[in-house]
């Protein structure tokens, strides 16, 4: 049978969570509002399946993040959502400007799993168990992806100035 969904109540209950995720990544109120609309439509359609498991919030985190990063990828621009200041051992990086450039390049070129591990760890500041609930990655995989990302950033920072992006 069809599932009864009170869209207004659903929106008033969860809309702000979707919007916040979108705004964090897209950094534009208008774009975030559009993205929120798209993600909310999918959420309403899936709600009957996810609500029973208390998994609505994790679903939103994952879906909003994927949607927004895909938007950025498709537009071929990326303003890093990861702040260099948020990375551990940042004082090992030569400069913040280089680090931001490195993050821009690296995040743009990384696979989704590494991107998610980095984003949810440093921007959303979630625990590894929470990231597992959202992405399905085990804590060991998350740690591995974070380590690989840090290594890439460090490698980029060691390159002679004037090279790279």
């Amino acid at each position: 049978m069809a599932m009864l969904v009170d869209l207004k109540s659903l929106y008033e209950q969860y809309g702000f969570i979707i919007y916040r995720r979108c705004a964090t990544i897209l950094r534009s109120e208008d774009e975030a509002k559009d993205a929120m609309h798209s993600v909310f439509v999918k959420f309403a359609d899936e709600y009957h399946r996810i609500r029973e498991k208390g998994a609505a919030v994790a679903w939103i985190y994952k879906a909003a993040t994927n949607h927004c990063f895909n938007l950025l990828r498709d537009r071929r621009k990326f303003d890093p959502a990861v702040d260099a200041d948020l990375l551990p051992d940042r004082e090992d990086l030569e400069s913040r400007i280089d680090a931001r450039r490195a993050i821009n390049m690296l995040m743009h070129g990384t696979d989704a799993r590494m991107r998610d591990a980095v984003y949810f760890t440093y921007v959303e500041e979630l625990s590894q168990e929470e990231i597992r609930a959202i992405t399905g990655q085990s804590p060991a995989t998350i740690r591995r992806n974070l380590a690989k990302f840090r290594e890439r950033v460090a490698r980029f920072a060691r390159r002679p100035s004037g090279t790279g992006q």
Partner: protein, 248 residues
Amino acid sequence: METHPVTTLELMSYAVNNCGDADRDRIRRHAETCPACASRLKAIAAERADFLARFPYAAVLGNRSGGEVVRRAPRTPLYALAAGLLVAVTAGWFAMQHFTETTARIKGDVSIAVYVKAADGKIEQRADNRYHPGEQIQIAYSTGEADRLILVSVDDSGRMTTYYPAIGDTSIAIEKGRGLPLPNSIVLDSYIGHELMVAVFSVSVLQLADVKERIAAAQRASGDLSALRLSAPDTWTVRTVLIIKTER
């Protein structure tokens, strides 16, 4: 590494009332003694209020009334709000054509009934309870004392669909009266087979999980939806209607 007993996701799930009973109690107890989490809950509430003030439902998703039906059928295209694929269905068509008495005194007469809008637009009840995909049904109820309701359907395979509460995990408050339509009608999807509508009336708040567990247990015991008998406390009043979905 020291970890906080309540995670960000748990706190957020608690704030939007999307967690199980045990988690809800645990988080509530924790928040009562943790200033950081109590503060975060306040911040979440403030953020939601600010969001709704800036982006009210009507402005973002159009002037759609609350209570819309999302058809859930395999391979059915996604119902996009902006494209108007979601069907806004209200009980208006039913209420205009059928009587309702909110002042009638009803004691011990708790019931549900299924009405359908036939192809010619007339509202009818079908004695054989046979319906077809795409038809629009409206459930009406009567209750004299019980003022809380959970409505769940279960099909032959044990799959359950929760109609009320639409959000949250406890029974909804309902008006007392005779022949009152529930707020929203239902468009039947493409599933073919039997579905048992189970309405649980009570005067106290019931937990959805409890009702669903009893339904599942009753189905396992009976093996046949038509013979399903819910084991329930005396404080519950259970009414069922077996829907038979067939192809036209």
